[in-house]
């Protein structure tokens, strides 16, 4: 019986390793078309909803950017982690803590407070995110606990903290018992960039973040040291780069950025703390980071793409009557296609005839 086997390629093609995200996107689209057809919907309409509607009007593009902002911020931090071999997959938890921290400050404001309050709101988000990621760093550093498990578990703890706050101390007394805080004062709102669009200064933070992370990776010695720790631990030890420092740096940067994303979200588009704050951005950002090849500029594009999937999923629900979970399906398809394409960049498939010759 012939058997399918994977064989390492001796020289993976440079060109294809860059083209593989595009190929993955093409595969995703192709499978998407098939999926729509199977669901009995017009595939052209389906694709339109995912890839054309979100960029049709200025307002739609704005919405795309609004969703891409937290994804990009979180993915930037994750890229720092992943490039240093620190597997922080709990960005969702750090994002939730950021939202809680920011809400704590925002709830203290009253209508007479100045607009300076936005600064402490954001700072509180960053600090809360730092703290949450810092727990993982501490446990790893002190007890050599596995950071994958710890950071993931802390996501569920974060969700419980959030629930406790909105069902308990922070519940809006005039909110008909809904588990949510009161709507934040207008002064705490993250300033918007244009009238008629929800795009806020958050996108500026994200783009500045892109530049800073690029500089960190490719122009600073500490960024270099950080990556050597991921590429060749023995070389990093030989050079005298501290692995503890790399661990803390990676987790604090990714925690801080995830916290910032959480703060921008509650004090921006959402405007209050609710149990629906965790929207899976922290997990989707893992896909954003990998599809963007852990490169700051690449992640700008992949964040926009993922944001498209979010919006497409919502539109598919309202326009085509399809479940919103289609978003997740598309995200998953993209990640798996990318993994498959990467695999084929590095390996080739071959049929091996067994039982022949002997």
């Amino acid at each position: 019986m012939p058997k399918l086997k994977l064989e390492a390629r001796s020289q993976p093609s440079q060109m294809w390793s860059y083209a593989s995200p595009l190929l993955a996107l093409a595969c995703t689209v192709a499978i998407g078309v098939l999926l729509f057809a199977l669901l009995g919907k017009d595939p052209v309409k389906g694709l339109q909803v995912f890839f054309w509607e979100p960029v049709k009007t200025g307002y739609a593009v704005g919405e795309l950017v609004v969703k891409a902002t937290p994804l990009l911020l979180i993915a930037l931090g994750l890229a720092v982690s992943f490039r240093s071999n620190v597997w922080n997959i709990g960005a969702e938890g750090q994002y939730i803590l950021g939202a809680i921290g920011a809400s704590g400050v925002a709830l203290m404001a009253n209508p007479a407070t100045g607009s300076w309050i936005v600064v402490p709101v954001l700072l509180a988000g960053v600090l809360a995110g730092l703290f949450w990621a810092g727990l993982t760093a501490f446990l790893r550093d002190r007890f050599n606990a596995n950071e994958i498990l710890v950071s993931l578990m802390l996501v569920y703890v974060a969700v419980q903290v959030l629930n406790f706050m909105v069902f308990g101390p922070w519940k809006d007394p005039h909110g008909y018992n809904f588990p949510q805080t009161k709507t934040f004062e207008v002064v705490t709102r993250i300033p918007r960039l244009f009238a008629g669009s929800r795009v806020s200064i958050g996108i500026i933070f994200a783009l500045v973040g892109v530049v800073l992370v690029w500089v960190f990776f490719f122009r600073t010695r500490s960024g270099f040291a950080q990556q050597v720790g991921g590429l060749a631990p023995a070389a990093s030890r030989y050079a005298g780069f501290s692995s503890r420092r790399a661990l803390w740096t990676a987790l604090l940067i990714s925690g801080g950025l995830a916290g910032l994303a959480g703060a921008l979200e509650v004090a921006g588009p959402i405007g209050q703390l609710t149990p629906y704050v965790p929207a899976g951005y922290g997990f989707a950002a893992i896909i954003v980071a990998y599809v963007g090849r852990l490169h700051p500029v690449g992640m700008v594009f992949s964040a926009l793409l993922m944001s498209m999937f979010y919006i497409g999923g919502e539109l598919a629900q309202s326009r085509l009557g399809l479940p919103k979970s289609l978003t997740g399906v598309f995200q998953g398809l993209l990640l798996f296609s990318l993994l498959a394409c990467d695999m084929l960049v590095n390996y080739r498939l071959r049929w091996i005839a067994l039982g022949v010759g002997k």
């Binding site: 064989e7 001796s10 020289q11 960190f216 490719f218 122009r219 600073t220 010695r221 500490s222 960024g223 270099f224 050597v228 590429l231 060749a232 023995a234 070389a235 030890r237 030989y238 050079a239 005298g240 780069f241 501290s242």
Partner: protein, 511 residues
Amino acid sequence: MTTPRLELKGITKAFPDVVANSDVSLTVMPGETHAVLGENGAGKSTLMKVIYGSLMPDAGQILLNGQVMRIRNPKEARANGIGMVFQHFNLFDTMTVAENVWLGLARTSLEQVTASIVAKATEYGLDIDPRRAVHTLSVGERQRVEIIRALLTRPELLILDEPTSVLTPQAVEKLFLVLRKLASEGCSILYISHKLHEIRELCTACTVLRAGKVTGVCNPKEESNASLSRMMIGAEPPLLEHHECQAGSTTMVVRNLSLERDDQFGVDLQEINLSVCAGEIVGIAGVSGNGQKELLYALSGEDTRSPHGSIRIGEVDVSALDPGERRRMGLHFVPEERLGRGAVPTLSLAQNLLLTRTESISIPRCAGGWIRVKALANHAERLIDRFHIKAGGPNSVARSLSGGNLQKYIVAREIDANPKLLIVSQPTWGVDVGAAAQIRGEILRLRDEGCAVLVVSEELDELFEVCDRMYVIARGKLSPSIPIAEATVEKIGEWMSGLWDRSVPGEARHA
């Protein structure tokens, strides 16, 4: 006339920057031990990888026992009776010896593999414990694993890419016995080495490569070192200039350094006493796996468990300092593993400078240290020029360099730092005769400028050539030092088995 075991016709293989093999033809008869000779970067390893199927030739034919073959991967090569020991080993660090060997074999149990490893090992006198994890092995031991792995497939053609660069003379003798036995059983051997005397001793035919082309085919037994060198590098290696050693003040002192192994199969260091003075070259001889690895980790600062006060540079106790801090005090170190420790394989030569050099960094101690990319590339370029390193340029990734050229680059990086104390492990491992002379020359020059140098090597010839004083390490203990004038090969050989305690009082009696 018998058909040749292997015939290559017009093999050509180009990489983006260089043509590594151009129209190479070569014939190996059954039972013949055939040497492939050539300077660093001549294309020897590339040619062997083509034969073994891990690289695809751009043009040319491979004939095995008279039949045209297309060898698409190492597995097909093995199925056709070709075995290979690579210059850079292909072992998984976290797995045991037996598991590593097991990976390449289909349909046998781990127990069977373990048993056959032990059988092969005893048959050929290659001492190895199959249950040990590979990361605990020294480079020399890893090579034994590779050799055993290749022998297990009972090859008709065995390719050995610089197998002896890390072996002691005794181990080389043993290996030669193995190879002669294999050859007498009809196995053909392709043998790469930079050591001409080995080639003359072992091989009956020789193909010389230079810049990817065949420049000569000869019988090495009829050639002299000089004529082989001329074919290989176009000249004879320069002779070293030796000045009288003028030892100055003590640069590094190691006092009663005892260190427990940090893995099960390591070696405990016991009461190591060692000193190196400015302006002298001190050697440490010994069979690999006798504590060299552990001692070097402790000296470089990669292992900071050393007891307080046990290691001093000048007057300063450095036992708790990390490698970066020791480097700032003038200690530079060349480790024996070049890929993965001395250099990051996937980063460029320029980026690899940043591991130990800070000249191209503004404000190195704060603000993360800004990398001046232009200056960095220029720096790498200067090293490439000064040490005649064959590489595409500062942006070539370390992995793409030939073994000898990467070794040269790492040595160059550390020598160029003008260290106060230079520690080198296997300085000329895998470099050609010309480059070896150059590296030794640079080390001597550093010494004459007042640098203290500690050379750890398994190659006695090399130690005798450059050192002023010598220690021997055996089973984690260090012998007393002996001036080079009083050292003889016999004596050092005896010390290598740990027997200096007996000969030292003997000497005292003479005095």
